[in-house]
């Protein structure tokens, strides 16, 4: 049994504890605000100079750049949050001037050195700055950071490579998808997509990667960036890859690429007996593909025992234009049975409510 004195003591201590915690939170906020104001005061005298630089014509920037690059360390530290934020928000001559200012200040070299700092926050900030400055020379150092012990730092390095990396980074990014220190696949995908056409060949090499996740990401990137020249390899992955994840990504990519070679592998992928998730994605991809010759197969799928497949087929038919609509009306009339009629009717009602029909260009097959 708990002694009554203990309960009384605990009840008395509780308000004191709450009060102490509240005071701690308030004082913490106060200190932060004071620090923020101090930083703003310190940056204030040169803030006008910075705005002048951002609005100046190219031939007027030189003197302003020199004056800003010469500010003392404390003022620079106070000004830096604004500089970093503005790098994301301005373009053209203003952005070029900011990058030049960082260079004059020796910031890229400092950031490269900071990538080896013991502090994770410092490594992350350095990677962010290098990415924002699109500092290509930092690419190898940023690639090393993909195996950093801190997951946040790995993430920042991935984003930075998306801005500043080239073909050399692709293999490192694909490697970062597996092992003990990984980067989430969506972040790697986004980085590879933002690297643009320059890295397409290296990404395509990822189709042969031994790790399924790397192959899946490579396929997704090729689909999103519209690399139609790789359609046949992606179609092969859909037919033959041992990993379901890879096959699902391949089905989606073929739909996005919209090439005729994608049709048959997609028709095969939606057949009964294939994994359910693949059948659902494949059915949706047939709608994306926009091939009217898929109409009959999609109409059959309206009566599929799985309602997700049937629903995806109805939505895909909506996207096939007049042929798809005709098939939906036919099914809604009950030609293909009760469940097909229900799916078709629901899709047509939905389209009528939305008041629009997605009309896709019909692919000549």
């Amino acid at each position: 049994m708990i002694p009554p004195g203990f309960v009384r003591g605990a009840l008395l201590c509780l308000p004191a504890l709450v009060l102490a915690l509240s005071l701690l939170i308030v004082s913490n906020r106060f200190v932060r605000r004071v620090q923020q104001r101090r930083r703003e005061r310190r940056a204030e005298p040169v803030r006008g100079l910075l705005l002048e630089l951002l609005c100046a014509e190219e031939d007027e920037q030189s003197e302003l750049l020199n004056r800003l690059a010469a500010v003392d360390k404390r003022t620079w530290t106070a000004l830096e949050p604004s500089l970093t934020a503005l790098l994301e928000k301005v373009s053209g001559a203003a952005r070029t001037a900011l990058i030049r200012l960082y260079e004059l200040r020796g910031a890229p070299e400092g950031a490269v050195a900071d990538l080896r700092s013991h502090s994770a926050a410092r490594r992350g900030r350095a990677a962010q700055v290098l990415g924002q400055l699109s500092h290509r020379a930092a690419e190898p150092a940023l690639c090393r950071l993909l195996t950093d012990r801190d997951p946040e730092v790995r993430l920042v390095a991935t984003r930075a490579l998306g801005r500043s990396g080239g073909a050399e980074s692709v293999a490192h990014l694909l490697e970062s998808l597996h092992g003990s220190r990984t980067v989430p696949p969506p972040s790697v995908t986004m980085a590879l997509v933002s690297m643009g056409p320059e890295v397409q060949r290296s990404v395509a090499a990822g189709l042969e990667h031994p790790e399924p996740l790397a192959r899946a990401v490579a396929i997704e990137v090729l689909g999103v960036t519209g690399v139609v020249s790789r359609t046949s390899e992606i179609a092969r992955a859909l037919r033959e890859d041992p990993s379901n994840e890879v096959r699902i990504k391949a089905a989606r990519a073929l739909g996005r690429l919209g090439m005729p070679e994608g049709l048959q592998p997609l028709l095969d992928a939606v057949a009964p007996g294939q994994p359910l998730a693949l059948r659902i994605v494949g059915t949706g991809a047939l709608g994306n593909l926009g091939a009217v010759s898929a109409t009959d197969r999609l109409a059959e799928l309206l009566g599929d025992p799985d309602r997700h497949v049937a629903g995806a087929a109805a939505r895909s038919l909506l996207r096939l234009g007049p042929a798809g609509h005709a098939a939906l009306h036919e099914a809604a009339a009950g030609v293909r049975g009760g469940s097909a009629a229900a799916q078709a009717g629901a899709a047509l009602s939905e389209a009528a409510v939305q008041g629009r029909h997605d009309v896709r260009v019909e692919v000549a097959l």
Binding site: R47, E52, L54, C55, E88, K89, V90
Partner: protein, 124 residues
């Protein structure tokens, strides 16, 4: 010279826009939220409003709708500012009655040209 109202909760962008437009010869009133923008537009007539779409509390879209609903500000030219990742807002912005939009990142020079273009359209 025109009187321009700038509303953006981001101090860096607000100061930059105000600086550039002042440099271009305009008279600028800069505020940090939608409510203040609406109040400023009602208290003192302006020739153009530059509104950030995403502001805490009252968004730029809400401000635009309110301006359009009031007789004295119904024809006030409005330019929306939005981030590239929120480009879907552009369509909604036009539906709310905006005359033009600027997507971040933007160049101060482009901003000034857009303002001049919208002002001259409004004068015609």
């Amino acid at each position: 010279m025109a009187r321009v109202l700038v509303a953006d909760d981001d101090a860096d962008i607000r100061d930059l826009v105000a600086f550039k437009l002042t440099q271009s010869g305009h008279e600028v009133t800069a505020v940090e939220d939608g409510m203040a923008a609406l109040k400023a537009a009602r208290e003192q007539p302006v020739d153009l409003a530059l509104l950030d779409i995403r502001m805490p509390g009252m968004s730029g879209l809400d401000v635009c709708r309110e301006l359009r609903a009031a007789a004295e500000t119904a024809t006030l030219p409005v330019i929306m500012i939005t981030a590239r990742s929120q480009e879907g807002d552009v369509e909604v912005g036009f539906a709310a009655g905006a005359d033009d939009y600027i997507i971040k990142p933007f160049s101060p020079r482009e901003l000034s040209s857009r303002v001049t273009a919208v002002l001259s359209r409004a004068e015609r």
